[in-house]
Symmetry: C2
Subunit: 244 residues, 2 copies
DNA sequence: CGCTTAGTTGAAGCGAATCAAAACTAGTGG
DNA sequence: CCACTAGTTTTGATTCGCTTCAACTAAGCG
């Protein structure tokens, strides 16, 4: 549960042109020249489950793309309460990019939910690139708008949905995201989050999450193998259970 | 409770250079030339309390700036449950601007919480302007990032705060926003939202909101005149009650 | 002044949290 | 391979905070 400075294969030179998330990430729209600019300033870093990329309140020094794995954006209270305000999947961009202003603070911690690989860009250098290539900023705006939409959708869940609706919605969303990443539509997937993470994302407790998953299984909406693998989901029934 | 097509003073020509929110809004960073471009395409429209600017699912045809009053971003469920996912104060920008893609749908309804005046820009024309003047897009990005931060902060409230913390936090936030707009720091203000709106924003019921405000008053944290006017707040005590 | 809507207050019920413990998993070392 | 430990998930019993339902009060408006 500590910040990682150097792990696994450690720093690796980035090879943007051959990158796994090249097309779906921010980098997708860049020309060869622009891509080269990114290539020079980027480096790879791997995180094991539970390790932090940044901590709430740290100085923001880097931007990043998720290359592999799943991450959590966590806001924590001193008394132990925690809320996951967003999930990070491959090709997602990390960091509150604003063209002006440096000395920014990280608004939440970023923790690896599974083994996770990031492609890091030093803040100042990335900002300079973004000013040279306005296409980068456009794409950042589009991504930020999507994130805002996702966040507001989740606000509806947190404010107005019941426990069972929350869990059903969560499974539906994660199922979609995971399957998009893997590109195989209907054969099950591994949940990237623990029960405790699901609780912190849905505003529930571990016990309630566990019970609600149990209900969905008994109702035949869902079939699981172990605690993490979802074998299949009745998408329509789950969609009903998710409730609007 | 219907969409308004033409009301009050109705369409007015915009006079950007003399606009009340000229400096704090998106328009603040524009040159005389750019401002002129906006001036030509914009028009003013006034909404009475309860009237809608757009409805969830409508085609998105316009962007706007809030000039006066307060608005609500509302997502509603068929069964009557509603969640306010954001508030609009003077100088706030309205509309999910993405440089590409037209045919967008409004993701939520926008309703006037008090009398409200907007400065409207036709979608296509505004997009063209934004492409000509990249400074506009930069500022849009900065604003969108702020909104995202606000939304995520609110997720923490919805997911993990108690009823009394929610209400205290709400009062603190609205107090700040209203006083920023008016620029008088410590002499009380009018709540722009009804109890029912507060409930829909905090994920509570009207009754609970009412009771919690009552508690805060009895505790001497807050003094009110009627149901809408806050005479003064013990900022420190309220901040404690808001809880992190 | 009566009518309608908004806000407050009280009593009862319920959904999710809390508390407690058992079942299961995964990792470690003998 | 199994015993041991630590962590996660499930299950059960109980409690509590908020909702629901209902009545009442205050405020706005013809």
């Amino acid at each position: 549960m500590d910040t990682v400075t150097e792990i696994g294969p450690g720093k690796e030179p980035a090879l943007c042109a051959a990158c796994a998330v090249r097309n779906s990430s921010l980098c997708g729209a860049l020309s060869a020249e622009e891509l080269h600019g990114l290539n020079i300033i980027s480096r790879r870093k791997t995180f094991e489950r539970g390790q932090f990329h940044v901590l709430e309140g740290d100085d923001a020094l880097e931007f990043a793309n998720v290359v592999r794995g799943v991450g959590k954006l966590v806001r924590g209270a001193p008394d132990g309460r925690a809320q996951i305000v967003g999930l990070l999947f491959p090709s997602d961009f990390i960091g509150s990019y604003a063209s002006s202003g440096d000395g920014a603070q990280e608004p939440f911690s970023i923790e690896a939910a599974s083994e996770m690989e990031l492609c890091l860009f030093p803040r100042a250098q990335f900002q300079k690139l973004a000013q040279e290539f306005p296409g980068l900023e456009s794409r950042l705006l589009a991504r930020t708008l999507t994130e805002l939409q996702v966040a507001r959708d989740w606000m509806v869940l947190l404010g107005r949905k019941t426990a069972s609706e929350k869990v059903a919605t969560f499974l539906l969303h994660v199922g979609q995201r995971v399957q998009n990443a893997g590109c195989h539509p209907t054969e099950g997937f591994d949940l990237p989050l623990s029960r405790s993470d699901i609780a912190d994302h849905t505003g529930l407790t571990v016990e309630t999450v566990s019970r609600q998953i149990g209900h969905l299984r008994k109702a035949g909406v869902l079939e699981m193998e172990g605690t993490r693998h979802v074998r299949w989901m009745d998408h329509d029934a789950l969609s009903d259970a998710a409730g609007f």
